[in-house]
Symmetry: C2
Subunit: 508 residues, 2 copies
Amino acid sequence: MEKVREIVREGRRVGNEDPRRVVHAFKVGLALAFVSSFYYYQPLYDNFGVNAMWAVMTVVVVFEFSVGATLGKGINRAVATLVAGGLGIGAHHLASLSGPTVEPILLAIFVFIQAALSTFVRFFPRVKARYDYGVLIFILTFALISVSGFREDEILDLAHKRLSTVMMGGVSCVLISIFVCPVWAGQDLHSLLASNFDTLAHFLQEFGDEYFEATEDGDIKEVEKRRRNLERYKSVLNSKSNEEALANFAKWEPRHSVFRFRHPWKQYLAVGALLRQCAYRIDALNSYINSDMQIPMDVKKKLEEPLRRMSSESGKSMKEMSISLKKMTNSYTSDIHVVNSQSACKTLSTLLKSGILNDVEPLQMISLMTTVSLLIDIVNLTEKISESVHELASAAKFKNKMKSSSKSDAGSTTSAVPIKSYEGDSDDHHHVVTILGDVVTSNNEGQSHGESSVDSCHHVAIEINDDDSIHDKHEEDSNIHVQTSRVSCGHTNASDLLNSGDIKKIII
Amino acid sequence: MEKVREIVREGRRVGNEDPRRVVHAFKVGLALAFVSSFYYYQPLYDNFGVNAMWAVMTVVVVFEFSVGATLGKGINRAVATLVAGGLGIGAHHLASLSGPTVEPILLAIFVFIQAALSTFVRFFPRVKARYDYGVLIFILTFALISVSGFREDEILDLAHKRLSTVMMGGVSCVLISIFVCPVWAGQDLHSLLASNFDTLAHFLQEFGDEYFEATEDGDIKEVEKRRRNLERYKSVLNSKSNEEALANFAKWEPRHSVFRFRHPWKQYLAVGALLRQCAYRIDALNSYINSDMQIPMDVKKKLEEPLRRMSSESGKSMKEMSISLKKMTNSYTSDIHVVNSQSACKTLSTLLKSGILNDVEPLQMISLMTTVSLLIDIVNLTEKISESVHELASAAKFKNKMKSSSKSDAGSTTSAVPIKSYEGDSDDHHHVVTILGDVVTSNNEGQSHGESSVDSCHHVAIEINDDDSIHDKHEEDSNIHVQTSRVSCGHTNASDLLNSGDIKKIII
C-alpha cells in the first residue's frame, strides 16, 4: 500500500515537472487505438491482413515526445524500409536464380554480409548521431524480406503491404504529434537557452550581496530559500546532452511558429557551450560564498565596489540577452552592460595596482585572488556570449532593435568609439575607453548555419595604459597586461579560444 | 570515388579505435544467419511458421556491443513479452465475454489505457534508466496480442509461439555474446577507470616541467607530441555518460573472470566522479601552462619547489592507485605520496607566509594565486580519491597489500600518527605532522555497495599552527587557516562536500 502511494506521488511529481508528459501519454494511446482499428475495419483488414500489425509496431516504436524526434524516427524508418525492401527483393531474386540447393546458402551469406556491414557502419559517429535507428531497421527489413521470401512467393506483394502499413503507422504518428498539442524540440531548445541565461543572470546579480554581506542568522527558511534560488544555476552545468539532443531533433522539424526550416540550431549549441563555461566559473564562485568565512570582511570590502559591479553588470547583460532571445530581437542593450563590467574590471586593476592589498596576508590572498580571477573570467566570457548571441540573432534573422550608440552597426570593419568613463571613483583623471577592433556585423550568408561560432570568439585582453605612477615600486612597466586568467573548467578546448585571432583591445 | 575512399578511411579509423567492433559486427551477422535458418529448416518452420520472424527481430534489436547490454535488453524483452502476453490474453478474454459489438470498443479502450499509462511510466527516472526497453516491448506486445486475438482464435497458440521464438532469438544472442569473444561492460568500466587514473597521473607528473621550464623553441614536432600526450586528460572531462552506461550494463552481467556478480559498480562511479572533478582542475591548470607567459619566470620560480612536489606527488599517488586497480590489490603505497603532497602544501604555505611574494605585482598575483589554489585543490582531491579507492577495494574485496606504516589499518576509530616532516627546506625547526581523525577501515558489510562514497569524503582543512612570527605585520592571528579553496567546477555539489562531518586536521 505504501509502495502504491509512493508510485502515485512519483507520478504526480513527474507530471507536474512537465504537464506535457501527460498529454503525450494520451496522444500515444490515441494513436495506438487508432491504428488498432485497422484490424477491426473489415475492408482494411481484407487488404492488409496480419500485416496491419506493422502499423501497430511502427506507432509504438516511432512515437516520441517531440515532433522532431518523431519525424526523425519516422523518416529513418520509412526510408530504411523502402531501401532494404528493394535490396531484399533483389537479393531474393539473385538467390532464386541459383537453384534450390544453393539458394538458402546464398541467402544466409547475403544476410550475414549485410548484417555485419550495417552493424559496423552503426559505429561511425556521424551515422550513430542521426541514422542509427534507420540502419537498425535496414538490417531488420532486409533479413525479414529476403528470408521470408524463401517461403512466400508473393514477395513483392508482401513488401508492398509492409511498406504501406509502416507508412500508415508513421503518418498517423507524425500527424497526431504535429496537430494534437505539438511539442516542438526547437521551441524547447529556444526556451531552455533563455532560461539558462535567466538563472545565470540571477546568480550574478545576487552574488555581490551574498559575498559581501555578513550572514545574519535571521530567518533560516528565508536563507534556505534564497540559497536554493541561487543554486538553480546548477542545472546549467549538465545541460549539454539535453541541448544536443534537442538540437538534433529540431533539425528534423518543419517550419513552425517563428522558427524557419533552417533555423541555426547549431548556433544555439555554441551559445549554450559558452554559457556552460560561465556556469562552471559560477559554480566555483558559489563555493567561495560558503567557504570564505575565514577571509575577514574588511579585506573583502577593499575590493567590494569593482567586484560587485563586475558581477552585477555581467548579470544585467545576461538578463538583457535572455529578454532579447525571448522577444527574438537583436538588441544591443546588453553591450552597454558588457562595457560597464569591463570598465569595472579596469577599476579593479587600478585598485590592485594602488597596493590596497599590500598588508593582506598572502594566504588570504589565495582565496581572494581566485575569486577575482573567476570574476574576470566571467566578464570576458560575458562578452564572448554577447557576441555569440549577436551571431545567432543575425543568423536567425531576428528583428534588429537599435538602442545603444556605443557600437556602430553598419558594415564597417573597424570602428573606434570613444566613451567617457563614467566611473564614480574619486580619481580626477578621466579615462577614455576606446573600442578598437573588428565590429563585423555578421549578416553574410555564409554564417547562417552558425558554424563558426566558437572559433570566432574574440580573445579579449584588457590592456591598461597607465600613465600616472601611483606607486614607485612598479617602475619596470607602465603597461600592465591584465591577461584574463582562463580558468577553463568547461568542455571547450581552452587553447582553441586562445588561438583565435582578432584581439580586441580596450585601451583605457 | 573520393567519397568511397573517405568512407573506407573512416571505417578503418573506427575499426582501429576498437578492433572489437569488427568482431561484434561478425557476431551479429552470425547470430542473424543462424536464426534465419529457422525458416529453412523444415521441422522448425512447420512448428513456428511466420512467427519465426520474431526470432530475427529479437536478434536485430537485442544484440548489443557488451554482454551486459545484451543481457539487459534480452531479459527486458523476455519478461515484458511474457507479462504483456498474459495480460493481453486476459484483456482479450474479458472483451470477448461482452459480445461482438462491444468487444472492439472495449479492446480499443484497453489498448488506449494501457498505452497511455505505460508511456507515462516511461518518464519515471528509475524506469527510464533500466527498464525503458521493457516497457516499450510491453506496450507493443499487449497491443499486438489483444488486438490480433480479435481475428485469430488460436490466441494462446499465437502467444506461445511468439514467446518461444522471442526466447530462441534472445538466447542465441546471449549465448553468442557470452561465448564468442565476449565484451564485458564491467571489464571495460574497470579498465576505463584505471586508464583515467593513468592520464591524470601523467599530466600531474609532467606539470612541473611544463610550467617551470621556459619553452625552448626546439623540435616543434616533439613539443606537439608532448602537448598531445599531456592533453589526453581531456577525455576524462566527458567520461560521465560513458561510465554511467557501462555501470548500468555491468549490473546485468553474471560473474566473469575476477568480477563477482554483485561487484560494487556504483563505487566505480563515485571514484569516477571525483576523478572528473580533478580533471576539471587540471583543465584549468593546463590553460595556465599556455597563457602564463606574462608571469616572469623568476616570480614563478619562487614557488617552484613546493608546487612541483605537490603536483608530482599527487601524480605518483594516482599512478599507484591505477596500478593497484589493475592488479586488484588494496595497496597503501599511494597514501605515502598523498602525505608527501600534503607536506609540500605545508611548505608552500610557510613560504607564502615568509613574505616571499611581497614584491610581486598584484596583477601577476591573480594568475599565480589561482594556480596555487588549483594545486591545493588537486592535493585535497587526491586524498579524497585515495579514500574512495580504498572503499572500492574493500567493497570489492581486493587482496590487501600492506606497505605503508603511516596509516593504521586496524579497526580503530581514531588514530594519531606523528610523522617527522621530511622537508628539505632550510628552516631548522621541524614540524610534526599529526593525522587526527577517523581512520575507519570500511570492511563493514553495509558499505559493500559503495553507496556512501561521496558522502563520506572527508573535508580536509590544513591548519597551520605557527608559533614563530616571521613577520611582525600579522600579529592578529598566529593561527592561520589555509582553508582549502574549493574551486569546485565539477558536477558534485560543493556544499555537500562541505557539510560532510569528519574534519581531518593536519596540524603542522
